[in-house]
Each structure stands twice: as structure tokens, then as C-alpha cells.
Amino acid sequence: MEIVFLNALANGILLGGVLALLAFGLNLIFGVVKVIHMAYGQCVMLGMYVIYTLKVIYGVPLLVASAVSVVIMGVWGTLLHLLVIRPLLGAERLNQLLALAGLIVVFENLAHVIWGADLRGVRVDLPIVSLGNVFLKTSNLLAFGGALVVLGILYGVLHKTYVGLAIRAVAQDRECATLMGINPGRIYLLTLTIGGALTGLIAAFFSPIYSVHPHFGGSFTLMAFIIVVLGGMGNLAGGFIGAFIIGVVTSFAAVITSTEVAEIVALTIFILVVLVRPQGLLGARRAR
């Protein structure tokens, strides 16, 4: 039994790494543009289909396919900003949410029409690594390591470069940032492009682990929400910690009972956090 729990813990942490990247993208968009991207997981799903198409149908090497997916999803994010999010910037919060929820319908059916409802997977044979009694899949380890590296780079960009400073400035106070000569429209565009490229990257990490189908994104969108709310909306550090909490908790719940119960547990945590501590674990209490 101990061994089972140890494995659950290890795999939960590995899952947490990738979830942290997913939550980072959602959080960045929320923090800067103040829009909840309801179809974020669905973008990851589209990215996975791009990789599948390139790798399986055109025989492109996986690494190249992944790189292409990052570029395509980055462009996709830019288009999304120009066509949907920018026209909605002045609208009510609820309308923004509903319009982006409408995109879920568009993306899932787009995938359904183009690729059909079957499971599509990129077949990669990687060995299993064992540390004593703990067994880890190489693909999970790679995804975890890759996610941490990317998070590190993004942290560096946000804190050490001029553009990063501008992004953080807009996130903190849009009007003051405008007065300092930052063009918030361009920062929004950049944020959505980065967010889009991230979905392509996450798709690259997911491809060797999961097979994709049109409704693949739904549960990951919900997972990302849960993490973002748990850590505090717009709080990047909180999202990082929240990802590992949710990764480990769902991993344990799945081992003890079933995957459905694991999801129910995660969603219940979400509801309780929204009710009792809407500012998240690390957020400061603010008057509403």
C-alpha cells in the first residue's frame, strides 16, 4: 500500500508540473487582459491535433512537429485576440465569459469535423524509469522537466526584460502603464500570443502521454480553472503551488477510488475555494 501511495505522490508531482504550465497561461491572460479564457484546454487539444497530423500523416519528426505546433498555436492565439477578445474588451465581464465559452463549441466541433471522434495518438516508445519501488514514465518526466524549464524562462522574461516589465505593469495598473508610455493594446496582443504558443507547447508535452479526441480539452480547462482559482486569479506563484496540490490530490484520489471521484474531489475543492476564499490561497483579501 505504501508503494502505491509513493507512486501516486510521484506521479501527482509530475502531473502538477504540466498543470502548472497550463495554469500559467490561463493566469497570465487573466492577469494582464482580465479575461477568463474558457476555451484554453480546447486550444491545447487543437495543438495536439496539429502534432498528430504532422507526425502521423506527414511523417514529420516529433520535435519539428512540436515546434510547428508552438508557432501555429501562437498565431491562433493572436487571431483569437484580434477577432474575439479585442472587440469584447469593453463588454461586460459575463459577456466576455459567454463568448469565450461559445468558442468551446466552435473548437470541439472543428476538431470533430476535421479529425473525427476517434482517439488519435502519437505513438512514442519510451522506457520506464524506476527509482527503487517508484516507477515513472519517461514521457511524464520529460513533460515535467520541460514544463519547469519553460516556467523558469517565462519567469525570467517577466522579471528581467523590458517587455516583461511592461506586461507586469499593464497587469498591475493599466492606466498608469499607459501614462508611462506602454501601449496596452500591444501588450494584450503579445500576452495572447504567448498564451497561444504555450498551448502549443503543452500540446507537445501531452502528445506522448495522452491520445487526443475532440472533447479532450474540457477536463483540462476545468483543471486549469481549479488551479488558478485555488492559487488566486492572476497570482502566478499561487497557481504554481496550486498545480502541485491539485496534481497530488487528484492522483491520490484516483488511486484510492476512481478517476471520476478524483475529478469530483478537485471540483469540490474549487467550489469551496470560490465560496470561502475567493482570493485564493496566496491572494490578499480585498473588498468586493
Binding site: 477568463i36 459575463l94 459567454l98 466552435v106 469530483i264 471540483l267 470560490v274 465560496l275
Partner: protein, 329 residues
């Protein structure tokens, strides 16, 4: 003029099955009535700023309660409807009280209810020994029976669904005429200001939420009885929850007939494309529907019917004013 038009329309709707239309058309009309019933119930709360993205939870609770009680204990779905409605109401009471007590509003409320709908769907799948899991289950067939709410002839369901829809529209009117409507409108516009004026926010919000949940649960029972098959992915979870909200929003959740118009447009469009272009293109019609929805929210936040109604009203009042300026309305 308006009253005459209404009576003619009602007469046409009532007479529709009597002129020997095909069972397929009756089927489409019945689907429209059932989902319009649910969408109207959704708008009870939606139009006061309580946008729920989790009404699938209430539909699922209602349909599964009545369905399981019928299959295992042969309980009449009429009684099951009440039991399911009450259970959904209790669920709405618990969640609603918690939300309103802690001041969960707007997009947080929408996200929380979205999670609720998904939880109910997952619970239905998890209890697969009783509910059949993802595969769902079929209701026992008993032939035509009023007591068990099953009919061989589609016309019965047509009239039943129509009466329920009319009842829901009537209830909308009742809400409009009650003190509740004034209170809720004040809350929807500025909650804190309303509270300082002594409006009991939690009480009024809870009341309308429970009504809405009850209607959704009954709608779930009707739908399940009509298709005699229950599935967690068509009766609960994110998909159906969003569909209900979209139908109401597309038509216009602020107007009495908005949700009905929205449902009609979506169901007719879907059926038309499915029949004429096959299953593959249902996906394309869904894409078009999604795109239309996004465009509509950007350009017509009041919905198709809501915007039309406003335009017509403006044109009518403008015209009557220009023709005989002395007349007052």
C-alpha cells in the same frame, strides 16, 4: 391587433398536430417545447444577472430521480417529477444559499455553477451500478399510459410539452408582476445599494433560483420520458448546461419570448442540416452556431429576439408619434 395575432398563433400551434403533419415535424416541435421550457426557466434567474452555467445539474437530478424511481419502484413519473423537482430545489437551496451568503456573483457564480453541473454528471457516471454510467439506461416500456407518461402517439407529448412551456411563460409573467421582480431588478442593477435600502437579497435570489432549478428538473423528466433514454452526457455536465444558457442568450434572456425563439432557431437549424446534409455536417452546423453565438454576444448582447423587439418598439413608437403627435400611449 396584438391580441388577435396572439390568438391566431396559439390556434395554429394547437391545431398543428390535427392537420395530419408528419410525426417527424411533431417530434421537432416537441423538442423545441421541452428545451424552450427549460431555457425559459433558466432565464428566470439569468435575466437578473444570475447566469448559471450549471443547469445540467438540475436537469440531471430531475431526470435520473424520476427515471430510477420509475424503473425500480414503478413510481409514476408525475410523482417522480415532484420528487426530482424538490431534490433539485434542495440542491439549488444549498448551493444558492452558500453563493449568495458569501457574495459570489457574476463570472464567479457562472464558474461555480459550471463546476456543479460537471460534478452531477461525474456522480451519475461514478454510480454506474445504478445509473448505467456513461452508457446511460433506458426506461421500461409500458405502452400508452397517462399514469406512466408514455405514449405511442407523438401528439400527446406535443400537447403536454406545450402546456408546460405555456405554464413556464405564465410563471415568468407572475414573477414580473410580483414584488420579487422589483427587488431582483434592484439587486441586478446594484446589489449593495439594494441591500442598504432594505431589500433582502439572499431571500429573493434564493427564491428565483429554486424556481428555476425546479423548472429545469421537470424539463429533464419530460425529456427523459419523451426519448425514454437517460445519459449523463446529454442530461448533465458542461455540454447541456452551456447549451441551455446559449439557447436563452441567443434568443434574448431579457424578453418573455426570447428563450423560446432562441431554442426554436437552434433546434430547427440543427435538425434541418442533419436531415439534409447528414451527420458529418452536424459538426459544421455546430461550428456555425458557435460562431453565430460569439458574434451575437459581441454585436447584439440582448439576443436576437430582444434586439428585434427593441427595434420594432422604437419604430412603432416613432411612427405613431410622427403620424398623430397628440396621441399618448
Amino acid at each position: 391587433m396584438k391580441a388577435v395575432a396572439k390568438i391566431i398563433l396559439l390556434g395554429l400551434v394547437i391545431g398543428f398536430p390535427l392537420v395530419g403533419v408528419s410525426p417527424y415535424l411533431l417530434h421537432v416541435a416537441t423538442l423545441i417545447f421541452i428545451w424552450a421550457f427549460i431555457a425559459t426557466g433558466w432565464s428566470y434567474m439569468g435575466r437578473f444577472g444570475l447566469v448559471s452555467l450549471g443547469h445540467g445539474a438540475f436537469i440531471g437530478i430531475g431526470a435520473y430521480t424520476a427515471g430510477l424511481l420509475f424503473n425500480h419502484f414503478s413510481l409514476s413519473p408525475w410523482a417522480g417529477m415532484i420528487v426530482g423537482g424538490i431534490l433539485a430545489g434542495v440542491m439549488a437551496l444549498i448551493i444558492g444559499w452558500a453563493c449568495f451568503r458569501f457574495g459570489v456573483m457574476g463570472d464567479y457564480f457562472a464558474l461555480l455553477t459550471l463546476a456543479l453541473g460537471e460534478i452531477v454528471s461525474l456522480v451519475l457516471v461514478a454510480f454506474r451500478d445504478y445509473t448505467g454510467g456513461s452508457l446511460g439506461f433506458t426506461l421500461k416500456r409500458v405502452g400508452s399510459s397517462w399514469f406512466y407518461l408514455q405514449f405511442e402517439d407523438k401528439a400527446y407529448f406535443y400537447y403536454i410539452a406545450l402546456s408546460f412551456l405555456l405554464a413556464a411563460l405564465f410563471l415568468w409573467r407572475c414573477i414580473d408582476r410580483s414584488r420579487m421582480q422589483k427587488a431582483l431588478r434592484a439587486i441586478g442593477e446594484d446589489e449593495i445599494a439594494a441591500a442598504t435600502l432594505g431589500v433582502r437579497i439572499v431571500k429573493y435570489k434564493l427564491r428565483v433560483t429554486i424556481m428555476s432549478a425546479f423548472v429545469a428538473a421537470i424539463g429533464g423528466v419530460l425529456y427523459a420520458q419523451y426519448v425514454t433514454y437517460l445519459n449523463p452526457h446529454t442530461l448533465a455536465g458542461v455540454g447541456p448546461s452551456l447549451d441551455i444558457a446559449f439557447k436563452a442568450i441567443l434568443g434574448g434572456m431579457y424578453s418573455l419570448w426570447g428563450p423560446t425563439v432562441g431554442t426554436t432557431i437552434i433546434v430547427v437549424l440543427e435538425e434541418y442540416i442533419r436531415v439534409n446534409y447528414g451527420a458529418k455536417y452536424v459538426g459544421i452546423s455546430q461550428i456555425a452556431y458557435g460562431v453565430a453565438l460569439v458574434l451575437l454576444i459581441i454585436f447584439m448582447p440582448k439576443g436576437i429576439f430582444g434586439t428585434m423587439e427593441e427595434k420594432i418598439r422604437r419604430v412603432l413608437s416613432g411612427r405613431s408619434r410622427s403620424r398623430d403627435p397628440g396621441q399618448k400611449h
